[in-house]
């Protein structure tokens, strides 16, 4: 069931600032399961669901945007130069396929030779005969492209797609909203926008969201690959369950929250991993908002982040759903002050 939605989410495009397609899918899918659906002015999609009794206010956030690029210049021959939206590894972008609006496909090539590669050295070829044809296809300055939509099965429960970061998180949030039927308190589930350009959606969300506990759903680096630096590092593995962030560049988990989540996982026999990594998620702005909101960043392990071939394990998704339901059900037992 969950995989049908996951594939649909991955096959659509939502480069930061242009999340309408994915927001539309999510709101349509979840409308029957929630009490209220609306947007704020930046483009965050907010869904509210009230429980059967009094209890804590719970905020769930998963960003729906993905990295991509924006056209800065089209030369007379029809080659397209671009800037990145969110961060790419130029070496991984080289040779990959990208898609503009109306599903116009292009490939990324380089104009320079040598080892060093910068985003500015790359250009896109959509096969056009000249600038006029590019423009006829609706591509102009400011047009946005994503990595070409893809979703495929790999061995066992492993899947590959261009944008499991963070459709995996969005999918977990959707599944939880569908399965929850008997809980206390108030849920506010938000598909946030513009995370990949600096957690901007969650900054706006933090201005108005009132919550006793927040759970941020995102993905993290699985380093169980030949790139693994040292076994001494705290490492996150594919298929070994959701990882909770202890610290990143903008967030630290409180020991109290850590014990709470560990207790839930243990009580329900669910696997749990730890994440200590650079960068940041929507948890950064959210845990600093209001009087400080106790926050959990629950991440799906993922290989090859920000490339066109992101790999996840469906078992991790299922365990993430179960853990989140556990957190919601246990949070309410703590009363309205949260865990």
């Amino acid at each position: 069931m969950m995989e049908v939605l996951l594939e649909k989410l991955c096959m659509s495009r939502a480069v930061s600032g242009l999340e309408e397609d994915v927001a539309g899918i999510v709101s349509k899918e979840l409308a029957p399961y929630v009490d209220e659906v609306y947007y704020d002015n930046l483009g965050n999609l907010i869904m509210k669901k009230d429980g059967t009794g009094p209890g804590p206010r719970i905020l769930i956030a998963a960003h729906m945007d993905e990295i991509g690029g924006m056209v800065k210049y089209i030369d007379d021959e029809g080659f397209i130069y671009f800037i990145e939206v969110g961060s790419h590894d130029p070496a991984m972008l080289l040779g990959s396929r990208v898609a503009f609006e109306r599903n116009v496909l292009g490939i990324v090539s380089r104009k320079t030779k040598g080892n060093e590669l910068k985003i500015g050295d790359l250009y896109i070829d959509i096969g056009a005969k000249g600038k006029d044809e590019v423009e006829m296809l609706g591509i102009r300055q400011g047009s946005v492209f994503s990595r070409a939509p893809s979703y495929q099965r790999l061995a066992g429960t492993r899947r590959v797609s261009k944008s499991f970061d963070n459709r995996a998180g969005v999918c977990v949030m959707a599944e939880v909203l569908k399965r929850l039927d008997n809980f206390n308190g108030h849920l506010m589930a938000v598909a946030t926008c513009q995370e990949e350009v600096g957690t901007r959606g969650s900054k706006v969300l933090s201005n108005y969201a009132e919550a006793d506990i927040a759970i941020v759903l995102d993905v993290t680096f699985a380093v169980d690959t030949p790139q693994r630096v040292s076994p001494k590092d705290i490492n996150t593995f594919l298929g070994k369950g959701p990882a909770i962030t202890l610290k990143d560049d903008h967030f630290m988990m409180s020991p109290k929250m850590r014990r709470f989540v560990e207790g839930v996982a243990k009580g329900r026999g669910l696997p749990l991993q730890y994440d200590i990594s650079p960068g940041g998620t929507d948890a950064g702005p959210i845990y600093l908002s209001k009087n400080g909101i106790p926050t959990v960043a629950m991440l799906v392990p993922l290989r090859y982040m920000h490339t066109g071939n992101e790999i996840i394990d469906l078992d991790d998704l299922e365990n993430c759903v179960r853990l989140l339901i556990g957190i919601i059900e246990n949070a309410e037992k703590q009363g309205s002050s949260g865990p």
């Binding site: 930061s16 600032g17 242009l18 704020d40 002015n41 930046l42 483009g43 965050n44 924006m70 056209v71 800065k72 210049y73 030369d75 130069y81 800037i83 990145e84 939206v85 500015g120 250009y123 300055q141 400011g142 513009q194 350009v197 901007r200 900054k203 706006v204 201005n207 108005y208």
Partner: protein, 328 residues
Amino acid sequence: MKHLSELRGISGQEKEVKSFINDEIEGHCDKIWTDHLGNLYARTNGRSDVDIGLFAHMDEVGFMVTGIDGHLLNFDAVGGINEEVMPGTVLEVGDERVPGVIGCPPIHLQKKEEAEKKIPIDDLRIDIGDVNDGIQIGDAATFDTRYKERRGLALGKAFDDRIGCYCLIEAIKADLDVSCTYVFTTQEEVGIRGSQVASNNLSCEYAIACEGTFSLDQPGVPKEDKVQAMGGGPVITITDRSVITDARLRGTIIKAAESCGMPYQLKRPFTGGTDAGMVHLSGMGVPSCVISTSCKFIHSPCAMASLEDIKNSRRLLIESILSVSGGL
């Protein structure tokens, strides 16, 4: 423009600019007030469906005195200034406008490899001659540049963002029948701080920031990067490092430019930030856009701009306010 350009106001010391703007707009607005960070607000009430916030920052890049050793002053840059343009720059230091120069060893005394090397700011000093006329640590030092106009071009300092201030002042003086809050912000050049405080205190449905921005029409820039140039008309931002502008608001502004028949340019490099970067993240999110004037050599002792561009930016701002006033 001449007055605005020659006013002195590094980040955190915008008093002179503020009092000039206050005098200019008095009588054209319903209310003028400030906050504790020094932002200047001007309110106009009108018969419009929506409330619009307009932003321009008063501060400019410059220097601050950090140490005094007789006639030699240690200093730090306030805002981003290329260290290569510093040696030889003539400055006015402190409230008394003491003339000084950032010392530069004459070429006769330099070894070849020294001459090729950039001197780090820590090794540079402002030299004010021999007597210290009451200059204190913390005093501002600003570029000593007089404003000049010739053949449709303007030369002067602080075009970033006195051009924006100029456009806002002109919009206020146009006495539009639109509900607007005009905010002249402080401390933009040190990390868009003024507008952070301003956006805590404002509630507007749309926001437009006015900026003096850079020009890419310079030697050494590859053709695919020469996308915004002095003389090419107002620059309407799609994205910069701080904001992805609201598509509907941007569309309205582009339409306004087209119906005026003026040239315009679209900005999309992921560098540079503006007050819009702060404002659009406030409250429930505020749909925001930026109208800029493309200038050569900003953040240096002397920038260059086209008078036609400045005129068009002013007109585009006014037309945009009118277009947006009925709602989008």
